[in-house]
Subunit: 362 residues, 2 copies
C-alpha cells in the first residue's frame, strides 16, 4: 500500500497530538483538533490502513491509536515542521558563548545544563579521549614547599591541571627536573598509547629521587589518560519526572541505572563514529526494556582533546522538533566557539549559519 498524501497528513496529526497530550488519539478527536476535514469514519479507515502498514499501534481495542517506532522515525526524518528557537533559548545559548573565555573544561558541563534548560528534558554527555589526541607539553609550578601544580597542555591549547602534594620538601629545581623528564618522554606522544608501565619506566632515570618521583608520575599518568578515560554525566532528571511516562518510579530507576556504570551500556545506544557530526535520534525500542519508552537525540563533537556525545533524553513521545532544534543550535554554537577562537564575542543567533531554517522561522 502507498503512503498517500492524506495518510501522511493524518499520521502527522496523530503524532503531533500524541506528543502534545500523551494519550491515544481517536478518530473523532483528530477531526475536531487535528485540522482534518473528513468524517471520523473515513479517518478510521485510514487509521486502520496505517496500522496495517506498521505506523500505528492500538493499546487495546477501544482506545485510540498511538504512533509506532516507525512512525516516529518517519516523523523525525520527513514529517515534522521547523521549530522556532525562542528568545529564552537563545539567551541560554549565549550563556555558553560567554563561557568561552573561562575554563574550557567546564564547557561540556555548561552545555549539558543548557540542553536540559532549553528542552525541559534530561541531558547526557559522554566524553572520551579523542583517539589521536597528542600531548603537547607539561609545565610545573611550585605552589608551596610541599606541593606543585602539574599542567598538561594539548596542541589545541586545552589544559589539564593537577595539584599534587608530595609529602616531602620540593623546590623549583625538583619541579624543573620532573617537568623535563615528563616532556622528554611524553610530549608528542598520543594519549592512547601512554601506558602506566611506560610512565613507570621514567622512574628509572631518577636515582635517589625515585621515592619522590613515583607518586608524581602516577598522578601525571592520571592527568594524561587516567580515571577519566570516559565520563558519563546526566542532568535534568527532574524534568522527566513531570511526564506521565515516568510516573512509575521503577522506570526512572531503570533509566538512571544505565548511567551509573562506566557508560558501556549507554554507549551501545548511542552509535557514533568519532568523525561524524550530524544529529542522530535513538527512538525507544521495545527490545531494550530499560529504554523502551525513552528517546535520545544526540550528536558527537570534539571538545578540546576529548570527543563528547551530547544527548537530549526524553520520553518516546518527546517533542522531536524542539529537541533536534536545540541540539542543532547547541552544536553550532560549540563548533563556532571552537573555530572562531579569535572572534571573542560571536553570538550564535546572528553569525550566519548554513542552516537554511533560520531565515524562515526566527
Amino acid at each position: 500500500m502507498e503512503l498517500s498524501e492524506r495518510k501522511l497528513k493524518i499520521l502527522k496529526s496523530i503524532i503531533d497530538e500524541y506528543i502534545d497530550r500523551g494519550e491515544p488519539v481517536g478518530s473523532k478527536h483528530l477531526m475536531e483538533y487535528g485540522n482534518i476535514s473528513l468524517s471520523p469514519a473515513t479517518i478510521r479507515n485510514e487509521m486502520s490502513d496505517l496500522e496495517n502498514m506498521g505506523y500505528l499501534d492500538k493499546p487495546h481495542a477501544s482506545a485510540g491509536r498511538v504512533p509506532s517506532g516507525n512512525a516516529y522515525r518517519l516523523y523525525v526524518e520527513e514529517l515534522m515542521q521547523e521549530y522556532k528557537t525562542s528568545s529564552e533559548q537563545l539567551d541560554l545559548l549565549s550563556e555558553l558563548t560567554r563561557f568561552k573565555t573561562e575554563e574550557k573544561d567546564k564547557i561540556v558541563e555548561k552545555a549539558r545544563k543548557i540542553m536540559s534548560k532549553m528542552t525541559n528534558y534530561a541531558s547526557i554527555t559522554v566524553s572520551e579521549n579523542l583517539p589521536g589526541a597528542v600531548i603537547s607539553r607539561f609545565e610545573t609550578m611550585i605552589i608551596d614547599s610541599e606541593s606543585m601544580l602539574l599542567v598538561m597542555i594539548m596542541p589545541d591549547g586545552r589544559v589539564n591541571t593537577k595539584h599534587l602534594s608530595t609529602g616531602t620538601a620540593l623546590d623549583a629545581n625538583d619541579a624543573q627536573i620532573i617537568k623535563n623528564a615528563l616532556n622528554a618522554h611524553l610530549s608528542g606522544r598520543s594519549l592512547d598509547d601512554v601506558s602506566l608501565s611506560d610512565i613507570m619506566s621514567i622512574e628509572e632515570e631518577f636515582g635517589d629521587m625515585k621515592a619522590l618521583v613515583n607518586p608524581i608520575l602516577r598522578i601525571a599518568y592520571e592527568a594524561a589518560v587516567g580515571s577519566e578515560r570516559r565520563s558519563v554525566e546526566v542532568d535534568g532528571i527532574t524534568n522527566l519526572l513531570s511526564y506521565p511516562e515516568f510516573k512509575n518510579v521503577e522506570k526512572v530507576k531503570d533509566l538512571l541505572g544505565l548511567f551509573e556504570q562506566n557508560g558501556d551500556t549507554i554507549k551501545d545506544f548511542l552509535p557514533v563514529e568519532s568523525d561524524e557530526s550530524g544529529l542522530k535520534v535513538y527512538i525507544g525500542d521495545e527490545e531494550n526494556s530499560k529504554l523502551s519508552d525513552t528517546s535520545i537525540v544526540f550528536c558527537s563533537l570534539p571538545v578540546g582533546n576529548r570527543n563528547t556525545i551530547f544527548g537530549i533524553l526524553g520520553p518516546k513521545r518527546m517533542d522531536y522538533k524542539k529537541a533536534t532544534n536545540a541540539l542543532k543550535r547547541l552544536s553550532q554554537t560549540l563548533q563556532s566557539l571552537a573555530k572562531d577562537e579569535d572572534a571573542p564575542r560571536a553570538i550564535a543567533e546572528n553569525s550566519g549559519f548554513s542552516d537554511e531554517k533560520d531565515g524562515k522561522t526566527d
Copy 2:
C-alpha cells in the same frame, strides 16, 4: 508519666521494626518479632501510654503505631545501638584517602559519592567560602600565544585555576604584569571583601593595555569569589527511589526542587555554626511539607578554603545508626587527611581514632 525501662524497650523495638519494614507496627507483630515477652494486650497498654506521651502516632484507628518526630529524636540521641562499619564501607573510605594526593578540589565530590555508596541513601554537599579565607597570591603561566593559566593560591595550599583565552596576542611579559597587578592589589585580601568594582579599579593602572586586561580581571574575580560562592550538589537520588516513601514521583520532585536554586532553601534546614564540627540530625518535619518525610544527617567541615556541609539524606525512617556512623567515619577520615598532610598513607580504619566505638564493634 515516666518513661520506664519497659516503655523504652518497647519504643525502641517499634522504631527498629518501623525503620526495617516501613509499615505501622502492631502489638502482636511486636510480640512475635520484637523480642518482647509480654502479651499483645499489655503491649497495647504501653503503646497507648507512649502515644499519649507523644512518642507514637497512629495513621488510623485500626493500624499499628508509627514513631513520632520526638521518638526518632530520642532514638538518635539515646536509644539506638552502635553500627558496625562493614568492610565494604571501610574500602570506600580508603578510596578517599587515596584521593589525598590528587586534586583537592575533587575531594568533596568524592566524599559525597562515598556517602551515598556507604549508606544507600542520597547525599548532599553545600560548600561556601570560609568567612575568613584569604588570598595568598596569584601566579600565571603562558599556555600559548593567546591564552594563559591563572592560578590563585590560598594560604593552606589550595589552588584555584582558570584557563583564559584573551583573543589577542599575549607574551610572558604581559602575564608578569598582570600577575604583579593582581598580587599588589589582592594578595592578603579576604575573599569576602573583594568586590567586582574593587577589581575593576585595578584596570585604571593599565593605559593602553586596558582592553586586554579587562576580561582577564573579570575572570580573576570569578576565580576568586565569583559564581561558586556557594555550590550545592546532590548524589545518589536513585537510592531513594527504592523506598516506598518516594514511590510517589511528586515527592521526589519536591525534594530535588529544594536543591535546584542557589541553596538558600536547603541551608535553612541545615543549621550549622561555621566552627562546630559535630553531627546533627534533621528529622523530617510536618511543618515543611517538602521535607516532611525526609531526614538529613549532616555535619560541617572546612575543606581547603571552603566550609562544606556534608549530609546524608534519606526517608524519615532512615537507618540512623548506619547513617550517623557513616558520616562520623567520613568526617574523621577527612579531618585526618587535612591534619596529617605529611603522613601520606594514613588509612582511616587503623589510625587510632578517639572513637571508643571502634574497639567494640570492628
